[in-house]
Symmetry: C2
Subunit: 135 residues, 2 copies
DNA sequence: GTAAGTGCAAACGGTTTGCAGCCTC
DNA sequence: GAGGCTGCAAACCGTTTGCACTTAC
């Protein structure tokens, strides 16, 4: 197959803007909001419309190329999605986030879903608390 | 102390509106958005301003009398704290929802959080899949 | 050439806020 | 009586959308 094997073989056209967004997300660790990405692009000298940033991030997320989650106050934040599946332990007060894994949870969710006859199972899990520094 | 020992001794004045909100939340199972609560209040014949509903829910949440979490699309939803804690298994296609419980998960999240020194632990977990009818 | 992608600006929808009047303590 | 609480409407802010134009294939 002559299909591109490049990172992003998801049927999305590799336009200048799309690439710029991906690259920015790549070079920035952790989660960032659409507006942040837009600003970072500006700093890089790339001018990409805010609407385009929103659309691009959404499509990349749908395509499974990036992760999306919500901040405490409802903003969507994204990050490059390379790593293993894990969950977040978030401080309610300062927002500090720890990534945690739980193979047992993965198994449990799958088996519960299957018991009820559900297929194509996925799940989301977030843990909230007050971190040591904020107590 | 002559302090009220009524359910809700959180320093908030027990106004008609406040009580109506709490009562509505009591009688409605599960999570509901501010707008839903507002509508339910209307159906009950109570007229409470939308802004008041928002303010009330926020203060109740701050006071720890109700739980707040976010929907997939960033809306704030609230519920009375007392319900038994459970999770949802949701069909991606038709939206059918099954409530499931998992004591093991409860224990796991708590212990993970404590390992990281987090206090006041809570969590959210949702499982998505395709239900038998939709496969 | 055609469909997907883009930019702009206007529309949206949930949430917050300023302010004048009301009610609880 | 003083300060919290309420209602209304306007402001906010992140996000979405309509439309004419550009670009990748």
């Amino acid at each position: 197959m002559s299909e591109s094997s490049a990172p992003g073989s998801s049927g999305l056209r590799p336009t200048k803007q799309r690439l710029a967004v991906v690259e920015t997300l790549d070079s920035a660790d952790g989660f960032h909001s659409a507006q942040e990405i837009h600003e970072l692009l500006g700093q890089r000298g790339e001018t990409v419309g805010l609407a385009t940033v929103y659309r691009t991030l959404q499509r990349l997320a749908e395509a499974g190329e990036i992760d999306m989650m919500r901040t405490e106050d409802g903003e969507a934040i994204y990050r490059r999605c390379s790593d293993t599946h894990h969950h977040h332990l978030v401080c309610r007060s300062c927002g500090r986030t720890v990534e945690v894994e739980g193979p047992a949870v993965e198994r449990w969710t799958r088996s519960i879903a299957e018991q009820h006859g559900f297929a194509d199972v996925s799940h989301t899990l977030e843990i909230f608390g007050t971190c040591p520094a904020c107590r």
